[in-house]
Every structure is written in structure tokens, then in C-alpha cells.
């Protein structure tokens, strides 16, 4: 789980035999730098390091014959606790259709991810429907239609400036084979745009989704905390998708999002092609963040 750099920090610790609080402090300082450089939020890092310190300077450590091992174990536990929690699968509705709502900032990868999920579930034998509920971005509906055509998944669109109406109509269709799941692509928006966040709440109220997935760009910096908090407070997220993991961004934003929402990361986008989506693996992210 732990990368070379963190191994180096602990190697230094191990060479010391018994540990003083100063030794632990030194190691924690290095861990703090590693996390900040990986874009983990400043305050998330502060809380995490404090929790680790509280446990690491306890009697159990200072009395231990293998104190460095104990510190390593504590860091590992705290990180895994952050990343490992939560049901990673989709909450399939007992009665179809399962409704999945994609939300997030502008350009994070919602439309592309909606299509990737549709393709994934189609392969698994489901009968997905994509709903083009972005009425603002030029050619957004066309973008989803082109993707739908590529993967052989129907795309519902409607001549309307009201996304709530579009979503309602998509579920009202009387089709011979009812679609399942129904994946709603929404317009990108700022978490501080009150009317647009109200619009999302109205959509949620209308369609009662089983899943509300926050799509987050893996290269997001300190702002990830603010964004995740607002979306979660307004909507009650059920999961997160991390996109553009095929780049060299360290992905610390993921840790921040996890820390403030407690929502599991369910999927990762790993490229621009439809097949580039994977179920999220916490240990792979951990070693990437710790560099």
C-alpha cells in the first residue's frame, strides 16, 4: 500500500530503535508535505496528521519494541479507513428502473462518464437509457446522442428549457421494454450557483434517484473540499466518480472528497474512450497519492 517515498520516511524511523515524540513529529512532517504536494486539502491533511499523531505518541508506541512498525501500521490504518469505507456497488432499485444522476462542476467529465457507465451496464446485460438534461451547453444534447449512437444505447431528449420536465418525461415513457438503469446527464454548474443547485434539488425531488454521483476531475486542487461539501449538503451524494486518472495528477482531491463527504468512490475514468472506466480500488489511489 505505501509507496517508495513513505517507505523512505519509515526506514528513517526504523533506524532509531526507541522513538521520541520528536522522531514521530519529524516523520509526520514528511507525511504532511507528501500529502499537500499531492493536492490533499490543507485542513484534511491537518486533521489526518493530528489523528495519526494522537495515536502514534500514545504509551503503546513509546513502550513498543517495534515503534516504527506501529507508526507505519497507524498511518496505513488511518488512510485505509478514509478510503476503504462505504458500499462500492450501485444501489440497484428493488423495482426497476434504477435512476442514476450525474452531477458536478463544468468540464469534470459527466457526459462522457454517463456514456461509459451506460456501455458498461449494457455489457452486463442491462438495458440502459441516457437522458440529455443539459439544456445550457451548446451541443450538449448532440454530444450525448453521438456517444449513445456509438454504444447502441438510446438517448432521451426533449425540446424544453426545463431539465425537471425532461427528466420527468424520460421516466414517463411507456416502452414495451422499460429501460434500466436510467442515467441522467446534468449540466455542469458551480456549487455556489444557488439557482442551479436548486434546479438539481428539483430534479432529485422529481426523479427520486437511487444514485447521485459527484463527478470529480482527479487534478482538482484545494477547492475539492468546498465543492464536495456543497454538493453533498444540497443533494445527499451516494457516490463519487474520479475522472482523468490516466494523467499524472496525484489525485489527492479524492482523499479530500472522501474526508468531507464519507461517500465511496465508485468508479474511475481512465481515458477518453468509452471502455476507459474501472471500478475504484482504494489501494491503488493510496500509493498514487503518497507518491
Amino acid at each position: 500500500l505505501l509507496s517508495e517515498r513513505i517507505q523512505g520516511i519509515f526506514k528513517k524511523l526504523r533506524s532509531k530503535g526507541r522513538l521520541t515524540p520528536e522522531d514521530v513529529d519529524g516523520a509526520l512532517k514528511d507525511i504532511r508535505v507528501a500529502l499537500l504536494e499531492a493536492d490533499v486539502n490543507f485542513r484534511v491533511v491537518k486533521d489526518l496528521v493530528n489523528r495519526i499523531r494522537e495515536r502514534a505518541v500514545g504509551q503503546e508506541i513509546l513502550e513498543s519494541l517495534t515503534p516504527a512498525q506501529q507508526v507505519v501500521k497507524i498511518v496505513h490504518e488511518e488512510l485505509t479507513r478514509l478510503m476503504g469505507g462505504g458500499e462500492r456497488g450501485i444501489n440497484w432499485a428493488p423495482q426497476p428502473p434504477t435512476v442514476v444522476m450525474m452531477v458536478g462542476l463544468q468540464g469534470s467529465g459527466k457526459t462522457t462518464t454517463a456514456a461509459k457507465l451506460a456501455a458498461l451496464w449494457k455489457k452486463q446485460g442491462k438495458r440502459p437509457l441516457l437522458v440529455a438534461a443539459d439544456v445550457y451547453r451548446p451541443a450538449a444534447v448532440k454530444q450525448l446522442q453521438v456517444l449513445g449512437e456509438q454504444i447502441g444505447v438510446p438517448v432521451f431528449s426533449w425540446e424544453s428549457q426545463d431539465p425537471v420536465e425532461i427528466c420527468r418525461r424520460s421516466l414517463e415513457q411507456n416502452l414495451p421494454f422499460p429501460p434500466n438503469p436510467v442515467i441522467i446527464d446534468t449540466a455542469g454548474r458551480l456549487h455556489i450557483d444557488v439557482p442551479l443547485m436548486e434546479e438539481l434539488k428539483a430534479i432529485k425531488e422529481e426523479i427520486q434517484p437511487q444514485e447521485i454521483l459527484l463527478v470529480v476531475d482527479a487534478m482538482t486542487g484545494q477547492d475539492a473540499v468546498e465543492v464536495a461539501q456543497r454538493f453533498h449538503a444540497d443533494l445527499g451524494l451516494t457516490g463519487v466518480v474520479l475522472t482523468k486518472m490516466d494523467g499524472d495528477a496525484r489525485g489527492g482531491a479524492a482523499l479530500s472528497v472522501l474526508a468531507v463527504t464519507g461517500c465511496p468512490i465508485k468508479f474511475m475514468g481512465t481515458g477518453e474512450k468509452i471502455g476507459n472506466i474501472e471500478i475504484f480500488h482504494p489501494d491503488r489511489l493510496a500509493s498514487r497519492i503518497l507518491g
Binding site: V33, L36, E37, A38, D39, N41, F42, L105, Q106, G107, S108, G109, Y136, R137, P138, A139, A140, K142, Q143, L144, Q145, V146, L147, Q150, L190, H191, I192, D217, M219, T220, G221, Q222, D223, A224, E226, V227, K244, D246, G247, D248, A249, R250, G252, A253, E272
Partner: protein
């Protein structure tokens, strides 16, 4: 940060936290705090208000202090190439820039050289229509360099002033995609002396330290001449441009403040430095 009566550890830690939260990054934050430390020890800075003013001036100075104008070709057309990673705001920023230049009386042509992404050409066409610019496109899947070439040729033969070239988003670590971008640049250079006169790296203000890697690799590949910092209407501060300025001396030329056609403004270093600390 500004209510303290004296410069103590709590105050300087508050300054450090503000810079890190603004995505300035650890190395540049440490550099700025060291500079401040020297000033405090030399008694040049004595109060929290002076410390804050000093830091703002340092940041503005790193960012070039004054507005950075576009590089105009000695004789038209001026060719501007928009580059950057996926979803950063290239197409939208190009549309805004076309509108801005058209409003200044320039004859603008927009080249749809993103021939890859679903509906990219359609998206740009809407912006071209909104800005009153001419529009050059091929079919999806066509060679991007051919589209760019066509637009430049059209501009030359019709006496247009500016060619704005949209490109597909690409992660800077994808070597083959960076090669494609180099080819677009080469084709433009061959067709017109000095083209592209401006290569704008479009950076999303919500991006963290990876923006440095983006700036480095795009600069290395296609000689970026300026940055457009988008989505500053959110809560992200885009402080990574300070680190980019320090390491690569790349000026920020424009900022994106929304999704409307008029939401593009010149970048003012002093205003930006001010906003970093609010």
C-alpha cells in the same frame, strides 16, 4: 488574516495557510514566506498590514505586475492556437475571445480543429455564430492540421485579421497527442511567418499542482506564450499560476469568469494578488 496587531507565529501560519488553500503550492509558498521573513528580520516590514501588503506586491511582481497583451502578427492574419487538457474551457474561451476581437472591429475566423470529441465541431459552431466569426470545419475524424491550414489559407486570401484554432483536449503526458499538437503548430508555421503568434494554454482554476506539469509539458511541446485561467467565478483561486510564473515565466493573459460570451477579461496581476488573500 488582517486583524492581528503584531506579526506572530499564528499570523504567519495564517498567511501560509491562505497561500496553500489558494493552490499556490508548497515550494512557492515557502519561497514567498522566506522573502517575507527576510523583510521582517531587516525591519522593512513591522506590522501584519505591512506583511500582507508586501506579499501581495511580491505575488503581483512574480505575475509581471502589468497586463500582458496579445502578441499581434507584424502583418495579418494573427494566428492564435488554444491548447490544454480535457474540459479546461478551450472551446468556450475561444468563443469569448472571438467575440471580444470581433467587437474591436477585427475580422475573425474560427478553425474547428478538434475533430475527435463527440459534437466538438457543433459546439464551436454555435460560438462562432454567436460571435459573428467565420467558421472553418471538416468532417469529424479529419486531420486537425488540415483544418487549421484551411482556416489560415482562407484568412490570408480574404484579408481576415485573426485565426483562432480550437484543438481537442489532451492530457500532457500522452506523447502521441502532444505530437499531433506539434504537427498542427508546424503546419501553421510553414504557411505563415511566425505563426502561431500566440499559443494559449487554457487552465482550469480548480486545478491543483498538476497545472505545473501541464504548463511545463505544453510549453516544451508547442512553446506556450500565455495562459487563459478559466472558471475563476467559482471558489478556486488558481494560485498555481504564481508557481508557473516563478518557474516558467508564463504570463496569464485572460481570465474566464463564467459561461457567457462576455465572461472573458484581461488578467490584472494586482487584482489577482489581492483576491488570493480574501
Amino acid at each position: 488574516v488582517g486583524f492581528k496587531r503584531e506579526i506572530d507565529e499564528e499570523f504567519t501560519e495564517g498567511l501560509e495557510e491562505a497561500l496553500i488553500l489558494a493552490d499556490v503550492g508548497l515550494p512557492t509558498t515557502q519561497y514567498l514566506m522566506e522573502q517575507l521573513g527576510q523583510q521582517i528580520r531587516a525591519r522593512g516590514v513591522r506590522t501584519p498590514a505591512e506583511a500582507l501588503a508586501y506579499l501581495k506586491e511580491e505575488v503581483a511582481s512574480l505575475l509581471g505586475r502589468e497586463v500582458s497583451p496579445l502578441n499581434w502578427a507584424p502583418s495579418p492574419p494573427t494566428v492564435i492556437l488554444m491548447v490544454g487538457v480535457n474540459g479546461s474551457g478551450k472551446t468556450t474561451s475561444l468563443g469569448k475571445l472571438a467575440f471580444l476581437l470581433a467587437r474591436e472591429g477585427k475580422k475573425v475566423v474560427v478553425a474547428a480543429a478538434d475533430t475527435f470529441r463527440a459534437a466538438a465541431i457543433d459546439q464551436l459552431e454555435v460560438w462562432a455564430q454567436r460571435s459573428g466569426a467565420a467558421f472553418i470545419r471538416h468532417q469529424p475524424g479529419a486531420d486537425p492540421a488540415a483544418v487549421a491550414f484551411d482556416a489560415l489559407q482562407a484568412a490570408k486570401s480574404r484579408g481576415w485579421d485573426v485565426v483562432l484554432v480550437d484543438t481537442a483536449g489532451r492530457l500532457q503526458t500522452k506523447v502521441n497527442l502532444m505530437e499531433e499538437l506539434k504537427k498542427i503548430k508546424r503546419v501553421l508555421a510553414k504557411e505563415q511567418e511566425g505563426a502561431p503568434h500566440e499559443v494559449l494554454l487554457v487552465l482550469d482554476a480548480t486545478t491543483g499542482q498538476n497545472a505545473l506539469s501541464q504548463a511545463r509539458l505544453f510549453k516544451e511541446a508547442v512553446e506556450v506564450t500565455g495562459i487563459v485561467l478559466t472558471k475563476l467565478d467559482g471558489t478556486a483561486k488558481g494560485g498555481v499560476v504564481v508557481a508557473i510564473a516563478r518557474e516558467l515565466e508564463l504570463p496569464v493573459k485572460f481570465i474566464g469568469l463564467g459561461e457567457g460570451i462576455e465572461d472573458l477579461q484581461p488578467f490584472y496581476p494586482r487584482d489577482f494578488a489581492e483576491a488570493l488573500f480574501t
